[in-house]
Structures are given as structure tokens and as C-alpha cells.
């Protein structure tokens, strides 16, 4: 039965301690197809990819390649079984040259050159150190390296993120060629347009199990989203969306907002060559959305806002007074606080939830001699307000992803703030937690604080924000009222296009 499949994963399960990453996933890929693996963040995609590439071992289930069960213990086993993977983070050693990296993979220049030429990288200098090569090029190099292994199945995990359009086109061409050779590609992407344009079939994961196997001909994005999220949650989300004021009320709200005091103002801010002259105002009680493709200077803009880096030019005004921060402390003292995207950078993994939440209370000598008398009330208040599950609270690293993210936000609820900077706060967390975070942001804004929310998920803009700015190449290229902004208009602005495509 399974001989006709190039790859058949049956009932694959994986559990990390008390949490289940994959309950039971089935996936079958036939020769000569481009197969999409889809799912919301946290559905188990990356776990399945890691199991197929032998980065981690499954707890249960079997994986057949051409009908023969493959023993996947270490990454070379997957390669030997004909599965080559290009990961989101290129698996190249920073401190070695490209050529030395190839040698470690037991390859030579001539193995990868034909593929690099296809991607217009034929002249690349193999004596360069990986650390000096941009991420996009590294991804393509990693692809060439994977192709050089001549795999039966090529797995591409979010390869198009951070690629330019022409670079992405090379990738699609190579995928098509691989299909024409009778080999297969497993394509993982958040960009549903790409998926529909290039893939033949799709397997959809939700909550650690496969919930749909679709033939993509004649399917539209809406159907994919519904399958990924599940009917109920889509409705829930839409409901959440409708609780925002609509129609005339929005206009009234906007007028009202314009009369509120400005709490944060940027005047022609530059940071290195990444932020190239940004100016905007943030008013009290406003939730300002910011969106951009990866690597457009949004990270650096947040570094400047949070006091992590001082702008190389331009001025930052907090409540009309200039802020020249030497460290985040100076920004925090003025009420501007940051919730970073990467939870690895936002948690004290070995310390308790309580200590995590209370950290900012002790950031100056005034709080050093004893613990804050109201520490317990502040911490309990944040826990209650965010509904943090503290059962595994003795070490923050044991919390689930959603609870960890709540801790990073709760820290500022406990400490107090005027302006909350959120950098992609809902990346990789479950939909219920997302809804709680949206509610919280609207609550704090209603209570008179301001929020800047950077997000890569455009629907969040409409759900949460009052106004949206779109960044491209270090500049603000578009400003819209969030209630009337469409995904298309934001997306085309984010690509640096002047006009909205039909």
C-alpha cells in the first residue's frame, strides 16, 4: 500500500516533558509532487520537520521512505534515506568559510556550483566567512547544499522568508524542476499565496495532528485558513474583530484621538543604515500598529525606541522632553517599555514566575536593600489580569509558550508603564492566548496607556490597532486607519509597491 508513496509518516508523536508537540501526525508524499505542510503557529509543523530530518526522535510512529521503514537517529540518517532539509536558520558554521562548511558536509565546490549558478550565485567567493554573508544568500547556499545531496525529498522550511522576489522565483523554479525529475518537495510556508501558486497537495496540522489532506486545485486562501484554524476559532476571531467600533464610531474615535496629548514623538530618527529617517507621533490611549516584511529596520526601530541603541541621528521625544537613553533603564524610567519577540530574550528560564514578573522593580539602587513591600500584590495582580497558569511556576522554562509570553507582558503590568512596545508578541502562541493578549492591549489603551504593536500577522492590525504604519527599507511608506486598512493594501505597501494590485 505504502510503496506508491515516496514518504509516509504514520502516527508520529512527540512530547516534551509534560507538553505534547505532536499527538499523531500522518503525512504522505508521492513522487513528483510539491507538497505543502500547513498549520498555525504551534500546530506541530516544525516538530514534524525536525523528526523527518532526524534532529529529534519521535516518541511513537513510523516513517517509511519508498515503503521501507527508515531508522532516523541522527541527521545523516535522513540524508542517507534521501531527505534533505533547508532549515529556517541555515545550518552553516559562522566562524568557518563557505568552503570549510562544504567540507564538513562532505561536499566540494563543484557539487554545489551548478545549483548556485541557477540562482545567480555562480560567482560567489567560497573563501568568505559565513558571518559575512547575508541571511538570504545563506538560505540559497543551504538550498544548493541540500540539492547537491541529490535527495528524493527536499524539505524547505520557510525558505522564502527574507528572500527578495527574484530570489524566491529561483527557488520556485528549482522546486518545479525537482518535481519534473520525479522527485518531491515538502514546502512549509506561512505565505498562502506562494503555497497555492506552487504546491499540488497539502497536509494541514492542527493541535499536533493532521486534520486535512487537500488537493490544492481550486482551493482558495480562506478555505486553507479555515482548515488551519478550525471553524470555531475562525468565528471566534471574527467575533473578536467585530467588537471593535465600526463605521461612524471609528471616525468619531479617530477625531477624539487626535485631540489627546502626544506621549511619544519621533523626529527623523536614523539608526545605522537600517532606520532611515522615521517620524511619527503616538498619542495617549492609542494602539499604533506597525508592520513590515522581515528585515526592513523594524527591529532596529524598536531598539531605538526601547533605549537599547541610541539613534545615530534624529530625536526621540517622550511627553515633549527629549529622550537620550544610554540603556533601556533610561527609557523605562520615562515609561517606555519593551516586550521583545524572542522569548529566549525575555525570560529568566531558571527562575520563578514571581521573580520573572518582579525583575523591573529592582532596576535601580532604590530597590536594592529589600524586596518591594507590594511585590506580592503587583505580581498577583499581573498573574490574575493575564490569567497566567502558575502551576509550573517554580521555573519559567517549564511554562507553555503562551504562558511564557504572558509573563513577558505581565512584567510591565507589575512594574507600570506609559507606552508599551510590543514586538510580534503573539508569534508562535495559541489562539486563545492571542485573544487574551488582544483584549489586554485594548484594556491598557482604554486605561490611558499607549501601545506600539509590531506584528507580521496583518489580521492583528485590524483586530487590535487604531492606526497602522507600514515600514519598507527603513522608512514609513504608508499610514492608514486600521479599521479601513485592508490586508492587500498593507501587503503591497510592505513590498514597497506604490499601488494596490488588483
Amino acid at each position: 500500500m505504502s510503496e506508491e508513496f515516496l514518504l509516509a509518516a504514520r502516527g508520529v508523536a512527540k512530547q516534551y516533558g509534560p507538553v505534547v508537540a505532536l499527538r499523531s501526525a500522518n503525512l504522505s508524499v508521492v513522487p513528483g509532487e510539491i507538497h505543502a505542510l500547513l498549520g498555525a503557529n504551534g500546530a506541530g509543523k516544525s516538530t514534524l520537520v525536525k523528526i523527518l530530518s532526524s534532529v529529534i526522535r519521535a516518541d511513537a510512529g513510523a516513517i517509511d521512505v519508498h515503503g521501507v521503514e527508515a531508522a532516523l537517529q541522527k541527521p545523516t540518517d535522513s540524508l542517507a534515506a534521501g531527505i534533505a532539509t533547508v532549515f529556517q536558520d541555515p545550518a552553516l558554521i559562522r566562524d568557518l568559510t563557505l568552503e570549510q562548511n562544504l567540507r564538513i558536509s562532505r561536499l566540494t565546490k563543484s557539487d554545489v556550483l551548478p545549483w548556485l549558478e541557477r540562482m545567480n550565485l555562480g560567482h560567489i567567493d567560497f573563501d568568505l566567512q559565513v558571518a559575512d554573508v547575508p541571511l538570504a544568500v545563506l538560505r540559497l547556499l543551504d538550498l544548493a547544499r541540500a540539492l547537491a545531496h541529490d535527495p528524493q525529498l527536499l524539505m524547505l522550511d520557510e525558505i522564502t522568508a527574507a528572500l527578495t522576489t527574484d530570489q524566491a522565483d529561483y527557488v520556485f523554479e528549482l522546486m518545479q524542476e525537482w518535481k519534473d525529475r520525479g522527485r518531491s518537495v515538502l514546502f512549509i510556508s506561512h505565505r498562502l499565496g506562494e503555497v497555492l501558486a506552487s504546491c499540488d497537495r497539502a497536509t494541514i496540522l492542527r493541535n499536533g495532528a493532521d486534520v486535512a489532506h487537500l488537493d490544492l486545485a481550486g482551493v482558495d486562501e480562506g478555505q486553507l485558513v479555515t482548515a488551519m484554524l478550525g471553524e470555531e476559532l475562525v468565528e471566534e476571531l471574527e467575533e473578536a474583530g467585530t467588537t471593535q467600533e465600526t463605521g461612524p464610531a471609528v471616525a468619531a474615535g479617530a477625531r477624539d484621538r487626535k485631540e489627546r496629548p502626544v506621549v511619544l514623538e519621533l523626529k527623523d530618527v536614523h539608526l545605522r543604515d537600517k532606520v532611515n529617517g522615521i517620524s511619527f507621533e503616538l498619542r495617549q490611549g492609542e494602539i499604533l500598529g506597525l508592520t513590515a516584511l522581515e528585515g526592513q529596520g523594524q527591529k532596529e526601530l524598536f531598539q531605538a525606541l526601547s533605549g537599547d541603541h541610541r539613534p545615530s541621528a534624529g530625536e526621540l521625544l517622550v511627553k515633549g522632553e527629549p529622550l537620550r537613553a544610554r540603556s533601556p533603564y533610561d527609557a523605562i524610567r520615562r515609561g517606555v517599555v519593551l516586550v521583545p519577540a524572542d522569548r529566549q530574550q525575555a525570560l529568566l528560564p531558571q527562575r520563578s514566575v514571581r521573580e520573572n514578573l518582579a525583575t523591573p522593580l529592582y532596576n535601580s539602587a532604590g530597590g536594592w536593600l529589600a524586596l518591594a513591600g507590594d511585590e506580592k500584590e503587583r505580581v498577583d495582580g499581573a498573574v490574575a489580569r493575564l490569567d497566567i497558569d502558575v502551576r509550573a511556576g517554580s521555573q519559567a522554562q517549564r511554562l507553555s509558550g503562551g504562558n511564557q509570553q504572558k509573563v513577558t507582558i505581565g512584567r510591565w503590568l507589575a512594574a507600570g508603564f506609559d507606552t508599551l512596545l510590543c514586538f510580534d508578541p503573539t508569534r508562535g502562541i495559541d489562539i486563545q492566548t492571542k485573544a487574551q493578549i488582544y483584549d489586554l492591549l485594548r484594556e491598557v489603551a482604554a486605561d490611558g496607556a499607549s501601545v506600539i504593536l509590531y506584528t507580521s500577522e496583518l489580521r492583528e492590525i485590524q483586530l487590535v490597532c487604531d492606526r497602522v504604519l507600514v515600514m519598507y527599507a527603513g522608512r514609513i511608506v504608508n499610514e492608514q486607519d486600521a479599521a479601513t486598512a485592508t490586508e492587500e493594501s498593507m501587503l503591497s505597501a510592505a513590498h514597497g509597491l506604490k499601488e494596490v494590485p488588483a
Binding site: 530530518s53 534532529v55 541522527k74 541527521p75 545523516t76 540524508l79 532549515f87 536558520d89 541555515p90 545550518a91 552553516l92 558554521i93 559562522r94 566562524d95 568557518l96 570549510q100 562548511n101 567540507r103 564538513i104 558536509s105 562532505r106 540562482m119 545567480n120 550565485l121 560567482h123 560567489i124 567567493d125 567560497f126 573563501d127 568568505l128 566567512q129 559575512d132 554573508v133 547575508p134 538570504a136 544568500v137 540559497l140 527578495t164 527574484d166 530570489q167 529561483y170 545605522r272 528585515g295 526592513q296 541603541h309 527599507a473
Partner: protein, 337 residues
């Protein structure tokens, strides 16, 4: 966003000497510093000749080998506080076993000691990978164990070795002379071999890979645990080689030598030699002049009329200064990145 083929990525666009300088500038700098110091030393003392050169080269050998041992392990992502103990242990073992033996037997014994050191230290590496205890803690333990073993092997300073064996490391049957060549050749061959291995072979490059990025190394099919054990084995052998050199120079063994201090010198030497304590960066070739410089500071400061204890102060200040400078350079580079 970057275009597909920015000029900087294309072969031949960057002047080769410029890149060479960027990549090997530190190595070159340390060598230059060494030669400058030697030249300066030559002007300081009334007669500078073969005896002085031989004295510097010969007596610096143990520290150089010990620094190479530390470099191999640190580049692979570890750190071995036990190398000093291994030096003392192999030195006293050699002195105890080699006493009164003919040259041929001492050579066989030397090879056996090197092998045994490699095996023992690979055991240390194995414990580290199996236990998941930080390297620094386990090797703190192995330092004690080696030092204790050394005392058990040779409770009182003594022992000896053959004249030929002493010549191998000092160019003289008595350990004192004007012939730096055997030691120089020995250092060149050993260091060139290890540098070639680390730079040109897959197993050697895997040391850098494991020390630089365990995940990426793992995905490239490298078993980081096995690499670490290998690094500890090679490091152990080099530490033992340093011990053999020590025995050859002194003509005897002394188990009360404090191995911990020797370890600390080896760490100072690799830092001066440009090896990053975080792993993945550095080369054995730059460690050689760094080791010689650290040894050489004492005679040079003595010749300048500075007393030896002040020389120690200057050595410490120099190391802090080097580290602070690299720290600031690194910090600025990250700010701009």
C-alpha cells in the same frame, strides 16, 4: 534587502591581502610583537647570542605546548583546568620511569605517556559529555585528581631521564646550552601538524564547528560529543608533551609544582593568542608566539632593571589590557552589525 550578488560576495573583488590581514591580523600582530620584544631584548643586554635564544626557545616550550593543549579544547567549546595537572603528572611519571634508562627506552616511554594522557583526558571529555556538568567544574576535579596522582607517583622531587631525551628538548645533554634547534623543530612540527589538522581536515574543522555552533554542527552531521572527547584527547596529549619537555629541561620531576598556576598561564596565553574563550575562533599558530611572549616577559623586564615581582604585575596588567581592548573592539563591531 540584499540583492542576489552584491559585489562583495564575488570572488576577487576584495583585495586578497586585505582579507588575509583581517583574518590573520591577530596572528601576525602577536608574531610581530614577539620579534619586536626579542629585538628590544637584544639591545638591552650586553651580549645577545645563541645562548639567550636557546634559553628563550627551550624554556618556553612547556608553556607553548600547554597553551596549544588549551587552545584545541577551547576552540572545540570546552575549557580544561586540568591541563596543568596533566603536565605535572606526565612530567613526574616520565622522571620516575625514565631514570637510568637508555635513550631508546625513554623514547618508548615518552610515546606511551603521550598515549596514556590522551586516553585519560578523553575520559575527562567523556564524563563532561555524559554528565552535562560544565567543563570548568569537571576539569577542576580532574586537576585535583591529576595533582594527587602526581604526588602518589613521585612523593619527593627527583627521578631523571636519559641524556638523549634531554637533548631532544634542549639541544644539550645537560639541559643548558646554545642550541635552540631541537626545541624549535619539535615545536614547529607539533604545532604545524595540529594546525594542519584543524584547518584542513574534516575532523579538525569539526572542532571549530562544534565550538562555534552546536546546532548547526549537529545538522551538518557532526557528533559534537565525540568531537569534544577528541579535543580533550588531543589536549591531553599536548599537555603531556609539555610535561615531557619539563622533565627534559629540569632533568627531574617535581610533583609539588602547582598545576593550577600552569593552567592559568595556559589560559592567559591563548587569550593573548586570540583564541575566543567562547569557542570556535582562534588558531594554534598564534598561540605559539603568545606562549613565548608570556614566558619571555620575565627575562626582558629583568633586563630592563624591573624586579621579577613587578614583571608579574606588568604581565597581569598586559593581559587585562588585551582583553579589555578586544572586548571593546567586539562591542563596537556588534554595535555596528
Amino acid at each position: 534587502m540584499t540583492s542576489t550578488s552584491p559585489d562583495a560576495l564575488v570572488a576577487g573583488t576584495q583585495a586578497p591581502w586585505r582579507r588575509w590581514l583581517r583574518r590573520h591580523g591577530w596572528t601576525l600582530g602577536v608574531w610581530l610583537l614577539l620579534f619586536l620584544l626579542i629585538a628590544y631584548y637584544a639591545t638591552l643586554i650586553p651580549r645577545f647570542g645563541a645562548f639567550q635564544v636557546a634559553s628563550i626557545v627551550n624554556n618556553a616550550t612547556p608553556l607553548v605546548f600547554l597553551a596549544v593543549a588549551q587552545a584545541v579544547i577551547v576552540i572545540a567549546g570546552g575549557i580544561d583546568l586540568g591541563v596543568g595537572g596533566m603536565l605535572v603528572l606526565s612530567s613526574v611519571t616520565a622522571a620516575r620511569l625514565m631514570e637510568g634508562q637508555p635513550f631508546g627506552v625513554t623514547i618508548v616511554l615518552a610515546v606511551l605517556i603521550l598515549l596514556a594522557a590522551a586516553v585519560i583526558n578523553s575520559g575527562v571529555g567523556w564524563i563532561i559529555t555524559r554528565s552535562n556538568v560544565p567543563d570548568i567544574v569537571i576539569t577542576l576535579g580532574s586537576l585535583y585528581v591529576f595533582q594527587g596522582l602526581a604526588l602518589a607517583v613521585l612523593p619527593n622531587p627527583g627521578g631523571g631521564t636519559s641524556e638523549g631525551f634531554r637533548w631532544l628538548f634542549t639541544g644539550s645533554d645537560t639541559g643548558i646550552g646554545t642550541n635552540p634547534w631541537p626545541a624549535a623543530v619539535m615545536m614547529t612540527v607539533a604545532v604545524a601538524a595540529v594546525a594542519w589538522w584543524m584547518g584542513k581536515t574534516r575532523s579538525g574543522l569539526s572542532l571549530y564547528a562544534a565550538g562555534s555552533d552546536r546546532t548547526a554542527a549537529f545538522l551538518s552531521g557532526i557528533n559534537a560529543d565525540r568531537v569534544k572527547i577528541m579535543a580533550y584527547a588531543v589536549g591531553g596529549a599536548f599537555a603531556a608533551l609539555a610535561g615531557l619537555a619539563n622533565t627534559a629541561i629540569a632533568g627531574r620531576g617535581n610533583a609539588t609544582t602547582v598545576g593550577g598556576n600552569l593552567t592559568l598561564n595556559s589560559v592567559a596565553a591563548i587569550v593573548l593568542g586570540g583564541v575566543a574563550l567562547t569557542g570556535g575562533i582562534g588558531s594554534a599558530i598564534a598561540v605559539v608566539p603568545a606562549g613565548i611572549i608570556l614566558f619571555f616577559l620575565n627575562p626582558i623586564l629583568t633586563a630592563m632593571g624591573v624586579d621579577p615581582s613587578s614583571a608579574q604585575v606588568i604581565q597581569g596588567v598586559l593581559i587585562v589590557f588585551v582583553m579589555a581592548a578586544t572586548g571593546i573592539i567586539e562591542w563596537r563591531r556588534r554595535r555596528q552589525a
